[in-house]
């Protein structure tokens, strides 16, 4: 029998509605889970246990009195610590915000409060969301692996049962990357669909807020609350078939420099969508050679601009990786920023044409599973083409199969951050919705994520396809496994080499 903290949002909501579970029991169960695992995981900046218990008790009284607000009523959740809650600090996991207090709720916090959700606390972010690893937090599946970022705390909390759902933000993958690395569902909605008022910005053109949940059905319920739409309770619609949906399978970019196990798992998932009735068609992703330049050209100057004040008054309070990027971002010429914004406009037009041919695009969320915590780079064979095999020689000190003794085969390297943002960035640049969902585990037992990218405001299509997939292929649950395990030394992940210092390698 499942413990309350193990329940999905939909199952917990159903049990609460049926008076089989009380919000107090559920919140207590989650708080006990936090007490059990939080020292190992480090997902939370702050846990507001007393406030959560009071809110749960109020929810219980209201529901008993017939004032049931909907499926989120009495459900314990956490918010990435970039999201304002009235009276609480929004630390952005930074010393810069040591004395901050939010004066009012952000729009999303207010909507979740109106829906009756119970706030557990604030979760860790990579400082000001300017990172892809959230170093304060450990991967829920393996303590020696990165949590991913920047919404690492939220993803780990949901994966480990420390929250029934959470919110994250996504500027270059920061909802989807940690969701994929922790085996949970993450939705970056269409740009502008969910209000960002009261959310600390990183890059105004690229920032999104969205849910991190255990199931696609749960993401649908949270999205409905965030957009101000209140769905009825009850089971998901019977019509979950993706029959007739045109699924684009990229011929380029999304399967280049991707670990074989990740590519294989995603291809299997795509085949499973086809078996459920979806129609597959190969597509060419446009302007891929300009993705990184456009992402950096937009994000780097905007991030500096949003931190201009504190860069003047207290630059020493930033972490070294974030500080140097903010300082250097001030030296990007306006002409390059405008080129990036114009390239983005071209990209949006090209992707809009793509969605005349297909209803969604299926691809890996990230090119590899969670890397080791001290890993700085990922290496790939310099052979080009799709679905690169990581060179057997691509391990430190071991020659490749085509190498002379002592000499590894030719390789290309990228920073861990660049690797993790590479497949996420297009959906930020285009503003199109992207849903990441788990599609299996690799040989080291680490989660693999697939993303479904849709046309603007096409969340319904993504959720339909995602629900159909997860109904037919439920994800592997973390619960029951030991939190804090470590992977073996021979885990089949791409090789790492220490990166020389001082280069700007962090990209969100």
């Amino acid at each position: 029998m499942r413990l309350p903290y193990e329940l999905s949002l939909a199952d917990a909501a159903q049990a609460i509605a049926a008076r089989e579970l009380s919000p107090v029991e559920l919140t207590d169960s989650v708080l006990e889970r936090i007490a059990e695992v939080e020292d190992d995981l480090g997902a939370y900046v702050t846990v507001r246990a007393d406030d959560a218990r009071k809110a749960a008790a109020q929810a219980e009284r209201d529901i008993a009195a017939g004032r049931h607000l909907g499926p989120l009523h009495g459900i314990p959740m956490s918010l990435k610590d970039l999201i304002d809650v009235a009276g609480l600090p929004t630390t952005a996991s930074s010393r810069v915000r040591a004395h901050h207090t939010a004066l009012k709720d952000s729009a999303v916090a207010a909507r979740l409060r109106s829906a009756g959700a119970v706030l557990l606390g604030k979760t860790h972010t990579h400082e000001f969301a300017y990172g892809l690893t959230t170093p304060q937090t450990r991967n829920a599946w393996a303590a020696d692996r990165v949590a991913g970022g920047s919404s690492g705390g939220s993803a780990v909390a949901v994966a480990a049962g420390e929250a029934t759902f959470a919110l994250g933000t996504d500027t270059g993958g920061s909802i989807r990357v940690p969701s994929a690395l922790n085996g949970v569902v993450g939705l970056k909605p269409t740009y502008g669909l969910v209000p960002v008022d009261g959310v600390t910005p990183l890059s105004w053109s690229l920032d999104h807020v969205g849910p991190i949940t255990r199931t696609v059905r749960d993401a649908e319920l949270v999205l409905a609350a965030l957009t101000g739409h209140h769905p009825t309770e009850g089971p998901a619609r019977a019509d979950e078939s993706p029959a007739g949906l045109r699924v684009g399978v990229p011929r380029n970019y999304y399967f280049d420099r991707v670990a074989p196990e990740v590519a294989a798992a995603v291809h299997r998932a795509i085949a499973q969508l086809a078996a459920l009735g979806a129609e597959l068609t190969e597509v060419d992703i446009p302007m891929t050679e300009y993705v990184q330049a456009t992402q950096w050209g937009v994000m780097v100057p905007e991030a500096t601009a949003s931190h201009e004040q504190t860069l003047r008054t207290s630059p020493e309070l930033y972490g070294s990786d974030v500080r140097v990027l903010l300082e250097a971002g001030g030296l990007v010429p306006a002409t390059d920023y405008l080129r990036a914004q114009r390239a983005r406009a071209l990209m949006q037009r090209a992707w809009a044409r793509l969605f005349e041919e297909v209803d969604l695009i299926a691809a890996p969320t990230v090119p590899c599973t969670a890397v080791h915590r001290d890993q700085q780079e990922v290496s790939w064979p310099a052979t080009g083409g799709t679905e690169s095999e990581p060179d057997a020689g691509a391990r430190e000190g071991v020659p490749g199969p085509d190498a002379r003794a002592g000499t590894p085969g030719p390789q290309v390297s990228e920073s861990v951050s660049d690797a993790y943002v590479r497949l996420s960035a297009p959906a930020n640049l285009t503003g199109l919705p992207s849903l990441s969902l788990p599609v299996g585990l690799d040989g080291a037992g680490l989660p693999i994520g697939m993303q479904l990218i849709g046309r603007a405001f096409g969340e319904a299509t993504l959720l339909r396809a995602g629900r159909a997939y997860e109904t037919a292929h439920p994800p592997v649950a973390l619960f029951g496994r030991a939190v804090g395990r470590r992977t073996t030394a021979s885990a089949p992940t791409p090789v790492s080499r220490p990166t020389p210092p001082a280069d700007a390698t962090i990209l969100r």
Partner: protein
């Protein structure tokens, strides 16, 4: 270092001009980082931008940032 690269001293002048003071001891790392960023941005100079206006802080396909019509909500949520 290419001819486009900033020296630490040039980085200091650029930062001053931009109104973002930096500590003298940090000029080397800031210049190196700025030069790396510029290297990443270089492909944009080869791109034919045609008549494209900047896509500045607006939803795809020109919709407004504020959630407005019920039709948009319904489209996004109807399953």
């Amino acid at each position: 270092m290419t001819t486009e690269d900033l020296s630490p001293q040039e980085a200091a002048r650029w930062a001053l001009r931009a109104g973002l003071p930096v500590e003298p001891g940090r000029l080397d790392v800031i210049a190196a980082t700025a030069n790396h960023i510029q290297h990443v941005l270089r492909p944009l100079r080869e791109l034919d931008l045609s008549d494209a206006a900047p896509a500045v802080a607006q939803p795809p396909l020109g919709r407004t940032t504020a959630l407005t019509s019920g039709e948009e909500q319904a489209d996004a949520l109807a399953v």
